[in-house]
């Protein structure tokens, strides 16, 4: 899941200040799961914006809608009848969603309402943790499905640094040591021998340094080349 948090209200207020009508567009997928951009959050922010405008003696019409996904054309297209009715769109999607909406409606002002943060999991109600850096070359098969690139502060691939204490990371004692977890889990599943191999460094050229990445699959394409 892509996680995000709502931008500070002051920043949002400043963004929408030039407009008299704004359409809030939520996304029902990742950001709904992390309670930052789903239908409920759209309703809350819309209410806040209306009250704020009213308190400041400003006229602001706020529309609300939530798409199932804000990063896929078929869903974004549902905004077509609404976009022209508003001076701006305030998107409560991740950065990918904001850009996708903007690309499909190039004449529209599309503003980001969230700060996109990381790829992660819902650990428990109200707690999301980062567990994938999208490095482009998954190595979880070697590390008992615990990613040292993401969860070890030093991104070590060949064993612990030696600084952890009581199973906690020396960089941030709030965080469990990834290598402690890896060793414990490998022990549990009887695969400790995996620790004897030497693993090459992460190939970061797959993740960065070449501009935006893309995935292209002919079998998924509608038009044949």
């Amino acid at each position: 899941m892509i996680t995000a948090v709502r931008k500070p209200f002051d920043e949002i207020r400043e963004m929408v200040a030039p407009y008299e009508s704004v359409l809030l567009v939520g996304c029902g997928t990742c950001v709904a799961e992390c309670a930052s951009g789903g239908e409920k959050e759209v309703a809350i922010l819309a209410s806040q914006l209306r009250m704020d405008a009213s308190l400041r003696g400003k006229r602001l019409e706020v529309g609300e809608t939530t798409l199932d996904r804000q990063c896929v054309y078929e869903f974004i297209d549902r905004l077509s009848p609404l976009v022209e009715k508003y001076q701006a769109i305030l998107s409560l999607a991740c950065g990918a969603g904001v850009q996708a909406v903007s690309e499909i409606f190039p004449e529209a002002i599309v503003l980001p309402g969230l700060d996109t943060t990381f790829l992660g999991q819902t650990r428990e109600a109200g707690l999301w943790i980062e567990n994938c850096r999208g490095c482009g070359s998954c190595k979880l098969q070697w590390f008992a499905s615990i990613c040292p690139i993401t969860r070890c502060a030093k991104r070590l691939l060949n064993g612990p640094c030696g600084g952890s204490r009581g199973g906690r990371c020396e960089v941030d004692p709030e965080v469990p040591c990834a290598w402690n977890m890896i060793v414990e889990r490998l022990r549990k599943v009887g695969r400790l021998e995996l620790l004897e191999d030497v693993y090459p460094p992460c190939d970061w050229s797959l993740a960065q340094g070449r501009g935006p990445r893309k995935i292209q699959r002919e079998d998924q394409a509608i038009e044949t080349v």
């Binding site: 209200f9 002051d10 409920k40 309703a43 809350i44 209410s47 806040q48 209306r50 009250m51 704020d52 009213s54 308190l55 003696g57």
Partner: protein, 119 residues
């Protein structure tokens, strides 16, 4: 029960059903004060409904503070312990308390918008 037109009563099945947006909408509609009445701590028949209401109310207060409205306009009150009281017996003392914040500035703003014909 009858409290006159100045009090709107919304029965909910449990404090756990109270959402942040319910509290904001009440203020947005011009309520001066929103009081959530829950079961006493440790006595929610569904487990933690009253605690959830408390958390959501605190969150709603933080949102209200962001727009410059007094967070004290949102309150949560546990009903008395072992209460066999009717809801009006719980509400009446609350209404008799001193209320220092006065009318909601949102109500005043809405009145201005509608030429004084606030609903």
């Amino acid at each position: 029960m009858e409290f006159g037109p100045s009090v709107v009563f919304y029965p909910m099945p449990c404090g756990g059903r109270v959402e942040t947006i319910h509290l904001l909408r009440a203020l947005e509609e011009g309520a001066d004060r929103v009081v959530v009445i829950t079961c006493p701590r440790g006595q929610c028949r569904y487990g933690e409904g009253n605690l959830r209401a408390q958390k959501r109310l605190l969150y709603a207060r933080s949102l209200v503070r962001e727009i410059g409205l007094e967070p004290e306009r949102l309150e949560i009150r546990p009903a008395s312990l072992g209460s066999a009281l009717r809801i009006d017996e719980i509400i009446r003392p609350i209404l008799l308390e001193a209320w220092n914040l006065g009318p909601s500035p949102l109500r005043r703003a809405q009145r201005k918008d509608t030429g004084g014909n606030h609903r």
